[in-house]
């Protein structure tokens, strides 16, 4: 009995101590949320430190799938799922930056996504226009960590205003020397490979490249995402296909993980688990390459 009262007093005391160091005017749930966020941040810092004692991949790609199903599950419209997906992307970029991953590629919009409803495509284009500018102009990742943004894909298919936002994001960050972020928008791997083959033939015609020098390396260097070699490909939402994303790069011994959560639910713990399993498999991958 006495122990029970002592325990209650201790918890109350601890609460007063912690609450005292935060803003006391906030409601209780906001204070608890702050404490939880602080603890989560410390936990993440510790896990990042632990993970960095082992090998870190140079290039990780994400297929950000499941935004619409995430929204449907919460009885919301599809575009709100895409907004949640963008915020999750911002978190994931932060985690990758903390882990020291130098190259991140994300599949933002596929060329065959234009076959979706005009309202959804229009909402996605507006979101892209707004967020590209926001990312390039205001995000701490770009300002403090020097992230460089590159838009990979067939820009001729984009509306004029979105193309301008893409070019703005690239120009604004072109001198940055930090993490390289490839945003695939709108993209398909078969379009990328065809464009690379076309560039090879053009370079041969111009005399830049000789016909005898056409090999895999010549095509690879002309891809929209030429390198470094892809180490890990992650697809969320439980789907187990490539969906025409980075086929050339993924087929070259990339470690493929299909994760059964929607993209907005993808957490640092999932990222940590993928990283640890890649570290364990690294020796086998190297032996085969």
């Amino acid at each position: 009995m006495q122990l029970k009262y002592l325990l209650i007093l201790a918890i109350a005391g601890l609460y007063v101590l912690i609450a005292g160091s935060y803003k006391p005017t906030l409601p209780l749930h906001a204070q608890c949320k702050q404490i939880l966020e602080y603890l989560q941040k410390q936990q993440r810092r510790l896990l990042v430190r632990v993970a960095k004692q082992g090998r870190i991949p140079q290039h990780v790609a994400f297929i950000m799938d499941g935004n619409r199903r995430y929204a449907r599950k919460r009885h919301r419209i599809a575009s709100s799922g895409h907004v949640s997906g963008f915020y999750r992307l911002a978190n994931v970029l932060e985690w990758c930056n903390d882990l020291g991953i130098q190259n991140v590629s994300v599949f933002a919009f596929a060329i065959n996504n234009f076959s979706r409803s005009p309202e959804e495509v229009s909402a996605l284009m507006s979101l892209a226009k707004e967020k590209l500018r926001e990312l390039a102009d205001k995000s701490s990742l770009v300002k403090q960590h020097g992230v460089r943004i590159i838009i990979a894909g067939n820009r001729d298919l984009l509306p004029g205003d979105v193309r301008e936002a893409a070019e703005f994001a690239e120009e604004k960050t072109q001198h940055n020397r930090g993490m390289r972020l490839n945003i695939c928008f709108p993209y398909s791997a078969t379009d990328e490979i065809s464009a690379a083959i076309r560039k090879v033939t053009e370079d041969v015609r111009k005399g830049v490249l000789s016909e005898n020098d056409i090999d895999e390396q010549a095509i690879e260097s002309r891809l929209q995402i030429p390198g470094p070699p892809l180490d890990i490909l992650v697809r969320t939402s439980g789907q187990i296909r490539f969906s025409n994303y980075m086929l050339w790069q993924s087929a070259k011994l990339a470690y493929i993980r299909f994760v059964d959560v929607f993209w907005p639910d993808f957490s640092f713990f999932h990222m940590f688990c993928i990283l640890i399993s890649w570290q364990l498999a690294y020796k086998s991958i190297k032996q085969r390459s």
């Binding site: 510790l46 430190r49 632990v50 993970a51 960095k52 004692q53 082992g54 596929a110 065959n112 996504n113 076959s115 979706r116 398909s188 791997a189 078969t190 379009d191 490979i193 065809s194 083959i197 076309r198 090879v200 033939t201 053009e202 041969v204 015609r205 016909e211 056409i214 090999d215 895999e216 010549a218 095509i219 789907q239 187990i240 296909r241 490539f242 969906s243 025409n244 086929l247 050339w248 993924s250 087929a251 070259k252 011994l253 990339a254 470690y255 493929i256 993980r257 299909f258 688990c273 640890i276 399993s277 570290q279 364990l280 498999a281 086998s284 991958i285 085969r288």
Partner: protein, 311 residues
């Protein structure tokens, strides 16, 4: 006291683990912290490895309760086996969706020797025979078998000879001998049940290697470049549809819908990249008892998949 001793030894170990390799500028506190994190990482990796082994053991134990798939096609035709085979054939026929083109990624010889996946597989010729039989049982008309090092192409004659006289393949085709079109990048052979070689084969089997992927795309680039140089083609006319036409399946099938990866490592081992565009990838680990079991699991997995094609 014991706990204290363990903690002190851990700290000392952490210090030794990291101090030796660290740069002089890091403080001792940083070095100790990094050392402890290194030990934590090794413990986490150990926990992961144990977890993966445990999962594989559970899967293996569960699969032991099921019927022996391999016996259905390898064993003698007893009444029970015939009944089970018919039941399985009906079950596969009733799946809501099946692949039209199945591709199987087999591990190379060095991986078979050194890794657990080798226990599930027999020799390459036996594996091709089993895959052919299972594809016929599941009524999959197109089968591509990939091995990175090209060893399947080198065993073309022995594979053709085996398929010609195979009881297992006949059992998969309901007791009849099927017409098989077997090809590699340099050879093609029509293994006929009847004298009429003009009839459409019951199954097309391709033996692929790395040569069917990246080098093929490079050769295509060379060919197109020659045409551009000769003025037959404008470089702007090299579009995705032109390249797709050049790389389409010679027998009119789609690119693989289902790729079965028989490996503990989730990598496609330089499988032809263009052919992966719409493929579902199912990885079967060394926990599967046989190839039949692996194919069955992959087909069941494929049957549950939702196809949305970007919509």
């Amino acid at each position: 006291m014991t706990v204290l001793a363990v903690c002190l030894s851990l700290v000392a170990l952490a210090a030794v683990a990291h101090v030796g390799s660290s740069r002089g500028k890091q403080s001792i506190k940083e070095q100790l912290l990094n050392g402890i994190c290194t030990i934590a990482l090794r413990l986490v990796q150990l926990a992961f490895a144990i977890h993966c082994s445990f999962q594989a053991w559970v899967q293996d134990s569960l699969s032991q309760a099921q019927i022996d798939m391999q016996q259905l096609l390898e064993g003698d035709d007893t009444d029970m086996v015939l009944t089970k085979r018919q039941e399985l054939s009906d079950l596969l026929a009733s799946l809501p969706q099946k692949p039209e083109h199945l591709a199987v990624v087999l591990p190379e010889a060095s991986v078979r020797e050194n890794e657990a996946i080798g226990d599930m597989l027999a020799g390459e010729t036996d594996d091709v025979e089993a895959l052919c039989a299972w594809s016929l049982l599941a009524k999959i008309p197109r089968l591509s078998i990939y091995s990175r090092d090209g060893s399947l192409s080198r065993s073309f004659d022995s594979i053709a000879g085996r398929l010609r006289n195979s009881k297992m393949v006949a059992r998969g085709f309901n007791g009849r001998t099927p017409d098989i079109c077997l090809e590699s990048s340099t050879r093609s052979e029509h293994i006929c049940a009847h004298s009429d070689s003009a009839s459409r084969p019951d199954i097309y089997i391709s033996l692929w290697s790395r040569e069917n992927g990246y080098p093929l795309l490079a050769k295509l680039a060379q060919r197109l470049s020659r045409r551009v140089q000769a003025g037959e083609l404008a470089s702007t006319a090299i579009t995705e549809s032109l390249v797709a036409d050049e790389l389409r399946d010679p027998h009119g099938f789609k690119h693989p819908d289902l790729v079965l990866l028989l490996d503990d490592l989730p990598c496609v081992n330089e499988f032809p990249p263009w052919q992966l565009q719409n493929s579902e990838l199912v990885q079967i680990h060394s926990g599967a008892r046989s190839l039949g079991d692996a194919v069955y699991r992959a087909l069941v997995c494929f049957a549950k998949i939702e196809m949305r094609w970007g919509k």
